[in-house]
């Protein structure tokens, strides 16, 4: 039972994220770096929020259980807000690096003359310089050297994936390693579906982070602040729904509904359309017929 549960939950939780990684991120070194940096930013946000929670815990009465639970809920919401703040900060960093390069690149985009960088198109602040150089350094190893909206959009999606993977890893891996050992789930009367629900929630959150990354970018680029507000409030909603656990009927289906909704919204907002979906299918079919 243990090995089966381990592999089952691992594949449920990390399968799509792994597939996304292999098919879209692993080919381009730039994207791998953006992914890891996204994971780092999420980690920073978690660190700060747990610091705040820890201080609150230490300052309060540890015997009072309802207070502890209340503080934990406060910790959850504070952490969500902080994650969104760090998502915004990471977006600004990516944008700055990409922008600086786009400003100095040639029309064909790929050959960046260093001389152009040198002569005057940069602001003289060294922080800006290092950001531009960061962007350049990252882009110079990448497959497509075009510094445009598309690459920023993809970068934000990858950043969202980084957030999601890190969040999933932190939620899931300890539980996975516990599931390898002997034990009976729910022997004290808790739900016996603990592992599988955790895996499903982790999957949902990973995908949600990816979609939110894309939507956040959209909102910031087009200055549609309502989109950003929607992303933040939906994140708070999802965290709030998870507070209903172990009433799984109340938390899991709504979360998956939201995930689906976000997926569709992100698809359409990043430029997809029914037409392109159709074209994809017919092209596949055509390729299938011709081969």
């Amino acid at each position: 039972m243990t090995l089966a549960v381990f592999f089952g939950c691992a594949f449920i939780a990390f399968g799509p994220a792994f597939a996304l990684f292999v098919f879209t991120v692993a080919k381009d070194p730039l994207r791998v770096i953006i992914l890891i940096a996204g994971a780092f930013f999420w980690l920073l946000s978690l660190l700060l929020s747990s610091l705040v929670w820890f201080i609150a815990i230490k300052a309060s009465n540890s015997q009072d259980l309802t207070l502890q639970r209340g503080l934990l809920i406060f910790g959850v919401f504070f952490s969500v807000l902080l994650q969104e703040v760090f998502r915004f900060a990471y977006y600004r960093l990516l944008r700055k690096a990409t922008e600086g390069l786009a400003a100095i690149s040639d029309d064909d985009g790929s050959a960046i003359s260093v001389r152009q960088m040198a002569y005057g198109k940069l602001c003289l602040c060294s922080a800006e310089n290092s950001l531009v150089l960061l962007g350049f350094m990252l882009h110079s190893g990448s497959l497509d050297g075009r510094f445009d909206q598309m690459s920023l959009c993809v970068s934000c999606a990858v950043a969202g994936l980084g957030f999601g993977i890190m969040s999933g890893a932190f939620s899931m891996i300890n539980i996975l390693s516990d599931s390898l050992g002997p034990g009976t789930v729910g022997i004290f009367g808790d739900s016996q579906y603990y592992f599988i629900i955790t895996a499903l929630m982790t999957l949902a959150l990973t995908l949600l982070h990816t979609f939110w990354g894309v939507l956040f970018f959209e909102g910031c680029e087009k200055s549609r602040w309502w989109v950003i507000a929607a992303v933040v409030s939906l994140h708070l909603l999802v965290a709030g729904l998870s507070l209903l656990n172990p009433l799984y009927e109340g938390s899991l289906p709504p979360v998956y509904g939201i995930t689906l909704l976000m997926g569709v919204w992100a698809f359409f907002s990043s430029g997809g359309s029914l037409h392109s979906l159709n074209a994809l299918c017919t092209r596949r079919k055509a390729e299938g017929e011709s081969s």
Partner: protein
């Protein structure tokens, strides 16, 4: 109890940019001193140094082509080494058992009555260890200055021998014990013999690139495991912190031993310590096309013997096989920033690597990293997985922190283009994240997992 004295020749890591890189490849000039100074200065009111030095766009683009690809070329082996160490720590309990044995360089024991005594002992231990490292570096610098290359080579050879045969024998024995595999001595002897001999050949002479890289990763992992086992708790953390500081000082101070080493090697136009480096590319293919241009000395490449674990000389074999020292020097002149970190030759260099289409200005560069970096990074992550009660979360956090530190270090190198220490940023991030995750994040995540709240 085995004597590890041969292995503690440590010179802390340093990241170095090759000051001679701005020389145009078609003119064999030694790097001029004013270019060196120019490169050495941090960017002030002008755009980054990397941009304004060389005359030709071709050279400029060469130096800037070093980018994301090279970061990934370093991520992969560092990750592999960490994975090996963490997997071993988690499965083989030998490396987390404290038998009471300690290295001779850390004589003070930590099982004392009071906390103050323990702190004092661990500080003394760290002090002694750093002192040993400093002395070894100085010995190395002296040997190098007086051209006692044979001594260094022999030293290195013997250390590698010990590592490849003896340590791997112990490792294999412990793995067999863990998985309860019965093994006779004859088979074991054949396995270890083959492993060791092939390793010595690959590392000291020639061999397939992947095999060489695999051996380097394995010996770095073995050394990191030895440190994790034989260094007591507080001493290990203090040593990690102290060696980052030492690295910073040794590389950036004008009288630092590492800086002296680097400058001496540059004056002599030799490769600095070609041994003990992990190389990501095969360099000899390119050599054939370019060797006509150089044609100089036959100075023997000095195997660099720094670090703790005398790792075998790696990418540059002493005899030919395509890598003549002259060729390597020439490559260094053509290259972009070269980073070398001390500590067993932690160098991150860039060497043009071979590509089937003729290379004009679109060479693919390789990256080199000294083995000491591997060892300390893996040691940090291994200790995190061994001792942290937060278990996997702490390990993952340290892993991400170290990778980001490596990325930032490479970025700084691209900006400053001079000798920079390789360890400080990564180790600092790693330490901060270890203690923060273990003490702050772990209780938070545990509580969330108990209630199944998700953030």
């Amino acid at each position: 109890v085995f004597d590890l004295s041969q292995h503690f020749l440590s010179v802390p890591p340093c990241l170095r940019s090759n000051d001679g890189t701005e020389v145009n490849r078609h003119t064999e000039t030694t790097p001029s001193r004013n270019e060196v100074e120019l490169n050495g200065q941090p960017p002030t009111a002008r755009p980054p140094q990397v941009l304004t030095d060389s005359e030709e766009d071709e050279d400029e683009e060469l130096t800037l082509k070093y980018g994301a690809k090279h970061v990934i070329m370093l991520f992969v082996p560092v990750t592999l080494c960490m994975v090996v160490v963490v997997a071993t720590i988690k499965s083989v309990s030998f490396y987390t058992q404290k038998d009471g044995q300690q290295l001779i360089y850390t004589p003070f024991r930590e099982d004392t009555e009071t906390v103050g005594q323990r702190a004092l002992n661990s500080m003394l231990n760290a002090f002694i260890m750093i002192g040993v490292i400093l002395v070894m570096t100085l010995v190395l610098v002296v040997l190098y200055k007086y051209r006692c290359y044979k001594v260094i080579q022999a030293w290195l050879f013997f250390s590698n021998l010990l590592l490849l045969f003896f340590f791997s024998l112990i490792y294999l024995g412990e793995v067999f014990k863990t998985y309860n595999v019965a093994m006779d001595y004859f088979t074991l002897a054949v396995i270890i013999w083959n492993f060791g001999v092939v390793g010595m050949i690959c590392i000291h002479w020639k061999g397939p690139l992947r095999l060489q890289q695999a051996y380097l990763i394995m010996i770095s992992a073995l050394m990191a495991l030895v440190f994790i086992k034989y260094l007591p708790e507080w001493t290990a953390w203090l040593i990690l912190a102290a060696i980052s500081v030492y690295d910073l000082l040794a590389v950036l101070c004008p009288k630092g031993p590492l800086r002296i080493l680097v400058e001496t090697a540059q004056e002599r136009n030799e490769t600095i310590f070609p041994a003990l480096i992990y190389s990501s590319t095969v360099v000899w293919l390119f050599n054939m096309a370019d060797s006509a241009e150089t044609g100089n000395n036959s100075s023997h490449p000095v195997p660099q013997q720094e670090n703790q674990v005398a790792m075998a000389p790696t990418a540059q074999p002493e005899d030919d096989g395509g890598f003549t020292p002259a060729w390597v020097n020439q490559q260094q002149h053509q290259l972009g920033p070269m980073q070398s970190s001390e500590d067993s030759r932690r160098e991150i260099q860039e060497l043009p690597s071979a590509r089937p289409p003729p290379v004009e200005d679109d060479e693919e560069r390789g990256v080199k990293l000294g083995l000491g970096d591997f060892i300390f990074y893996s040691m940090l992550v291994g200790k995190a997985s061994a001792t942290a009660s937060g278990d996997w979360n702490t390990t993952i956090a340290c892993f991400v922190a170290i990778l980001i530190g490596l990325c930032l270090t490479l970025l700084l190198l691209a900006i400053f283009k001079k000798a920079l220490p390789a360890l400080p940023i990564s180790i600092t991030f790693g330490l901060v994240f270890y203690f923060a995750t273990d003490n702050l994040v772990r209780p938070f995540m545990d509580q969330l997992a108990v209630h199944q709240f998700y953030i």
